[in-house]
């Protein structure tokens, strides 16, 4: 068969070029140019679980246990699944009980699971909803905590792509231990 030799040689060649040279070149350049990022050592790269009332809480996580960064996973509940509606009902009750001063509608990101189970962010509304609780638990003024939330808010890229968001891990680091 005339095609055997070209097939084997080219497969081998591209395995070396695209499978070893290319990823190793990117590894070398990445580690040289941005070592912290290339090794995922930046603070708040992935989310963490927070339960203390003095910390901002992130989104519900579908990994086992929550925020397990060794095995990412979504929940994959469809919108009409009774198990999904039960889960949301329960989360709404929990969030309301934890934030007694808030009687408006609960921001959706606080009661819906993220895609990765590792989402480090909240929407601005999701963070602001918790300000009064965090301030009270820490004995600080709401205005002061609000300022920290604003300082840790990032806008859309070029003003149009994505959503404004607050990195929960970085915000809690900025708050310090309760």
């Amino acid at each position: 068969m005339k095609s055997f030799r070209p097939g084997l040689v080219l497969l081998l060649f591209f395995t070396v070029l695209c499978g070893l040279v290319y990823p190793l070149l990117i590894t070398g350049l990445g580690q040289f140019l941005a070592p912290e990022k290339a090794s995922a050592r930046t603070i708040g790269a992935v989310g963490q679980l927070f339960t203390h009332p003095g910390y901002f809480h992130g989104r519900p996580s579908g990994t086992t246990p929550p925020y397990n960064a060794e095995a990412s996973s979504g929940v994959n509940h469809g919108p009409t699944n009774p198990a999904f509606l039960d889960a949301v009902r329960q989360r709404v009750a929990t969030v309301r009980a934890q934030n007694p001063g808030q009687d408006g509608a609960v921001p959706a990101d606080l009661v819906t699971a993220s895609g990765s189970g590792l989402d480090p962010h909240l929407s601005v509304a999701g963070a602001k909803y918790q300000v009064a609780r965090v301030a009270k638990a820490r004995g600080r003024s709401a205005a002061e905590v609000n300022r920290l939330v604003d300082a840790n808010t990032e806008g859309r890229w070029l003003g149009i792509f994505g959503e404004p968001r607050v990195n929960v891990v970085r915000l809690n680091v900025a708050l310090g231990p309760p």
Partner: protein
């Protein structure tokens, strides 16, 4: 619908067009008849025993495609099975079990990247690099090569003429697969390098370690993070319309896709080549209007479909509002806060219009109509931008059908770019359109009728049916995205999806190459007053109509049983 939703969609399309037009011109220069092999390329051909000047008949071209893909698949299978004794396995992962390894080998060779496994918990770094990343390059290059062969079929005028050729004259030729493959891969490399470096700068890891640790803010202690050579694989999985993620949750993972900027670059990369090749086509057939017409037809389907998805998802789920959830951000289950509804829905239609299948949100959790849009885009055969090469050769099959129907309407022999479209071409085009559709519907029917097909479902009722339909649609059309609630690692789905992936890829490629051979053997007829011009708004409308009609007639009954029923349940009944 919010102003931001419209604005982000528009900004995305403007960026895409600005990048695709010049890239299309570059591809035409690098892959077209004017391109000469460079010196290192000649060395490679000498070692490989390739004569770059040799032209292949379609049968030999197809044989070379199949053989190269078979070798690639076997290598991917072998590396997975043996990964525990191969280097670069810092996580100490064992060999992949045979069923999953076979499914994955088929999946990556066919440019599908259906993932029956969780990336970070199954595949060693060596497997991710030397097996999966390599196929991401060469399966995309295979698609490009087949497209180039079809374009040659359409453009060759130095006709082999069956009637007057003396006995023993070789049949029509459509190029050299080895040269097309090599050039295409070498074009993808610098693009992937550029994208990978930008991703690293945005926070996507690229390291040979398996784990890194972060200090836990609450309570002290450490959080262990799975990492690896992520950026290099993510860059080519998007550009090559492969879609297989490094991590289980793909580009929803905050390390695989850390920021709105990385998200924008990744989603652009998914459709960039599919869009650019329209313009490459225009250059190569020496009539750029033909390329713009195809691009316009694609946008005419893409934009309304995306708008329906955005509308449905921003409107949210009525039952949640009743539970006291604020509906103003739309439906956020399964989505990441940094992307929100708009970036997630745009991604979902882009990734299924193209044959990519990577996700930045869990499609299984979408509202029914927003989940139906990706489903339908795949069912059309992923010809709206589509896979690298495969999108354009797919839409060209529909062009043949549209030209043929309009020829029948006015009673003239249909022709496209000066080549007559006759019974043989129509049969081949119909095969390429109908076989994937048949395997979607028959596969779903088989799954619905068996215990093995229904027990791995993750959601009850109509939504469960959608999960099955989505799985077979995604496999047959080589997309690879999933309604993730379905447990795909059992025997039934590994075998069934593996089989439809093979059908969907090669039972389209072979008819397309046969079509290329058939067209290459035809004389070019000069256009006359009776020729239907194929660059006008009228023809674009005709083409869109053909695509929508075929897609609608084939799939609406199935869609009615899944997402449409669920939509009615969701909006009509409150618990």
């Amino acid at each position: 619908m919010t102003a931001h939703a419209i604005g982000e969609l528009l900004a995305f399309l403007v960026l895409l067009t600005l990048l695709a037009v010049p890239l299309g011109a570059l591809f035409a220069r690098a892959l077209g008849p004017a391109a000469m092999p460079s010196t290192p390329e000649r060395w490679l051909y000498r070692v490989a025993g390739v004569d770059p000047a040799e032209e292949m008949k379609w049968t030999r071209y197809a044989g070379a495609v199949l053989l190269f893909n078979l070798f690639g698949g076997l290598l991917v299978y072998a590396i997975q099975r043996l990964q525990s004794s191969l280097p670069l396995n810092p996580g100490g992962l064992g060999g992949v079990e045979p069923g999953i390894a076979w499914n994955t080998a088929v999946s990556f060779a066919t440019n599908t990247n259906w993932q029956a496994y969780g990336g970070e918990t199954t595949m060693s770094h060596f497997t991710q690099m030397a097996a999966l990343t390599v196929q991401n390059f060469v399966s995309a290059a295979t698609g490009l090569a087949v497209l180039m062969a079809l374009i040659r079929g359409l453009t060759r005028t130095t006709a082999f003429d069956e009637g007057s050729a003396p006995a023993g004259t070789p049949g029509p030729r459509i190029g050299n697969f080895w040269v097309d493959l090599t050039r295409s891969t070498l074009l993808l490399l610098p693009l992937a390098t550029l994208w990978a470096l930008v991703l690293v700068a945005e926070g996507t890891p690229q390291t040979l370690e398996a784990r890194t640790t972060a200090a836990l803010v609450e309570g002290g202690g450490q959080q262990s993070l799975a990492v690896g050579p992520v950026a290099s694989q993510v860059a080519i999985k998007q550009l090559g319309t492969n879609g297989g993620g490094f991590f289980n949750v793909n580009s929803a993972h905050p390390l695989e896709n850390p920021t709105p900027m990385s998200n924008t670059l990744e989603v652009l990369a998914i459709v960039l080549l599919g869009a650019a090749l329209c313009f490459t086509f225009g250059h190569l057939v020496k009539d750029r209007r033909q390329g713009w017409a195809l691009y316009a037809a694609m946008l005419a389907i893409f934009v309304p479909v995306t708008l329906v998805g955005l509308w449905s998802e921003l409107k949210g789920v009525p039952a949640l509002e009743a539970l006291g959830v604020d509906p103003s951000q739309g439906h956020l289950e399964g989505k990441e806060a940094r992307f929100g509804v708009v970036s997630s829905v745009i991604w979902s239609t882009v990734t299924t219009a193209a044959s990519n299948g990577s996700v930045n949100a869990m499609h299984d959790s979408f509202t029914p109509l927003a989940g139906m849009m990706p489903l339908w885009l795949m069912q059309l055969g992923e010809i709206i931008f589509g896979g690298v090469g495969s999108g354009l050769y797919g839409i060209l099959l529909y062009v043949m059908v549209a030209v043929f129907i309009s020829g029948l309407l006015v009673g003239r022999t249909p022709e496209y770019l000066g080549k007559k479209i006759e019974a043989r071409e129509m049969k081949l085009a119909s095969l390429g359109i109908l076989l994937p559709a048949a395997s979607v519907l028959l596969g779903t029917a088989l799954a619905s009728a068996t215990q093995a097909g229904t027990s791995p479902l993750g959601n009850p009722g109509a939504h469960g049916f959608s999960e099955m339909l989505y799985a077979f649609t995604s496999g047959s059309n080589n997309n690879g995205s999933a309604f993730g609630g379905l447990t795909a690692s059992g025997t039934f789905y590994t075998v069934a999806i593996g089989t439809v992936m093979l059908i969907g890829r090669y039972w389209v490629i072979v008819p397309v190459l046969a079509l290329a051979g058939s067209l290459a053997g035809k004389r070019r007829v000069p256009s006359s007053a009776g020729t239907l011009p194929t660059h006008t708004p009228l023809f674009v409308a005709l083409l869109v109509g053909t695509i929508v009609l075929v897609g609608a007639l084939t799939f609406i009954p199935a869609l009615a049983l899944g997402p449409i029923v669920e939509h009615l349940q969701m909006t009509g009944v409150t618990p």
